[in-house]
């Protein structure tokens, strides 16, 4: 009598390999003779080319794996905290607490200066010319970068 709650009917998706538009689950699954063709599993098969991909809308594990190992979405680095280790950036402005601004500029970290991010863990370590400075995330976020 009681059926397990089903996921809302999925809309059509486009196969990333052949470009075919199909509705995953159900018929699409049976068509390629999937032994567990339940229509509720977290993979999608393209009925035309058979390309199989994890359904990230359903699987938290798949999202996690992509976040950990997948290619990074190219995000515009707006502050020092966005730069990955090993990269370079040019300071546009230092925001936040004026006392902090004054201290950083006295250490040579000022607008127009090139910064090399050495590492981001356990804290941020940056090189400005011949000066190496360690700072925490809060400070790194206050250093705004010029768009490259």
């Amino acid at each position: 009598m009681t059926t397990p709650p089903l996921a809302p009917a999925p809309g059509p998706v486009t196969c990333s390999l052949c470009g075919f538009e199909y509705v995953p689950g159900g018929a699409a699954c049976r068509e390629i003779h999937c032994p567990i063709a339940l229509g509720g599993c977290a993979t999608r098969h393209c009925p035309r080319c058979g390309h199989t991909v994890p359904d990230e809308e359903r699987s938290a594990a798949a999202r996690l794996v992509r976040r950990l190992f997948g290619p990074r979405a190219p995000r515009a680095a707006t502050t020092l905290a966005d730069l990955p280790s090993g990269s370079f950036g040019v300071v546009a402005a230092i925001l936040g607490d004026p006392g902090l601004q004054a201290r950083l500029t006295a250490q040579g970290l000022a607008p127009g200066v090139a910064v090399h991010v050495v590492q981001t863990r356990p804290t941020w370590v940056i090189e400005v010319g011949e000066t190496t400075i360690a700072l925490e995330r809060r400070v790194a976020e206050a250093v705004r970068l010029k768009p490259s």
């Binding site: 902090l100 601004q101 004054a102 006295a106 356990p122 011949e130 400075i133």
Partner: protein
Amino acid sequence: MELASKLETNFTMVGDGGTAACPGDGAGAGDAGARLPRRIVLLGNPNVGKSALFNALTGLRATVSNYPGTTVEVYRGRLSGTDTEVVDSPGLNSLLPLSEDEQVTWDLVRSVRGEEGEVVVQVADAKNLRRALLLTLQLGQLDVPTVLVLNMHDEAEARGIRVDLQGLEAALGIPVRATVATRGLGIDGVAGALPLARPPRNHLPLPDAFAAPALALLNGQDARPAIPPAFLARYHESLLAYADGIARRHATEADSGGAHLSRRLGRLAIHPVWGWPILAVVLWVLYEFVGVFGAGTLVDLMEKRLFHGYLNPWAVALFSRVPWAFPRDLFVGEYGLLTMGLSYGLAIVLPIVLTFFTAFAVLEDSGYLPRLAVMSDRVFRLMGLNGKAVLPMVLGLGCDTMATLTTRILPTRKERVLATLLLALGVPCSAQLGVILAMLAALPLSAAAVWLAAVAGVMTAVGWLAARVLPGERGDFVVELPPMRLPALPIVLSKTAARVEWYLEEALPLFLVGTLVLFALDRLRFLEVIIRLGEPVVKGVLGLPAEASAAFLIGFLRRDFAATRLFDMSRGGGLDVVQLVVAMVTITLFIPCIANVFMIAKERGWKTAAAMAAFIFPLAFGMGGLVRILMHAAGFQGAP
């Protein structure tokens, strides 16, 4: 060998050339070497080798003192073979003061400005001309006679940086000399240039909006000028831009590649992976040197051999001729000023302080200290502090009283109070640690884990909560990482000596005061009353034998006594596993000793000290009781 001789000729050449080519109107050049200034103030960015140059100039005869009204260390000495006073100021990045350290240097510079026969010797890292010039330009705006010394010239050459000294002299209008202070190279050149000092040429095209207020501030008569920090940042930016131009014209860029040993080591020490084993090794060596050698071997030698073996019996013998009991008890009794106060401060704490300050100076001069802060930042952030707190916390494992004194290095009042509280609460000093480790040895691993979890839990919870309750902000964590270097032994020794002297002045009197209070309490039979009052708590809440009350109280008052008391009790089989863990947790959370309370009062005020004591003692007993209940519930029982 070859390099050294090459450098030597290079330096003589530079020195001679400098004198001849010294620009300006030439008025002072004629009597070069004739008139030395009365006083020299050494000034410069942090970690540029100021101390090394100071030692090379003065020949290691320095005295250290706190600058009046501050906690900032200032070293003073005399230029070798002359009457000229040399003052070493704390490192700073800008002359418009932001921190207490910079305020001190600012005051020193202002005192130089008005005086005839006083000069500033600015020490700079030859590799980092741009930042040094920011200060030089400010000295120019202040009209202060200056000699610029480019130190660590060897490191700069190794990095492929060439500085055109004569061009720089011409551009700035002041004598510029190159040195390698740690090896004594170029020191004569600096001494010879002193009579030629003059204000750096200043035609800085500052935007009008900044020039006038900056000059007004620099020349201001206020003791502590009120500076809008937002303005400061703009001011620094324009100075930097100008300095950058000069640096580009007169120094070549560093070779980008070529990771040198010190650079690699410096990066390895904070590496996300390799940094941890290195940290473990450093902490282990630190523990072996301070904890085992200092707090163990040296303390035994001083306490058992010297004090108990010779000095105390002598003092007792001497006072036995005094016919009155009162002075006898006061000086050599159970709570005697000599037999307890002095032997406590000199025999037990001094060796720990001595080894710790030696290790501290080595860490400081090697450049590892700020890296230690980087590695431990996360842990301390859990407790509302940041990596800068690592130093007092590690010292606390030796002596919490001393560690409370060093919380001064933390930037905000909130952090100082927090660190003081956590030290008194959760960091066991070497005395407590000694008892605890001895008792741990008798326990199963699971019971030891309960102890560790209880203490770490309380530390984190209290730190986390207190960080939210206490008013104020945690300071930003920004630490400059100097290159890793091999520390020079003479500098390490002179720093250690100066700081031990400081300990003797600051902390030793507190041990005597503490003893005096004890003596009074004992005389008035107050101790017995307190022990009696504690008994129901110890029995009812902690489930320990009534005698433990005396052990806890005396433990707070006298370290050696309590150690043996509790340890004997556990060894005699009088305590089961739960009782042992409860006793250990309570002892760890206790304030280690009465001197620590006095130190808290001295540093943070009586109100804070009383509040902390009122918080910590009930918490220690409460936590002991909680652990007892939980351990019984978890089924721990029986003899160890």
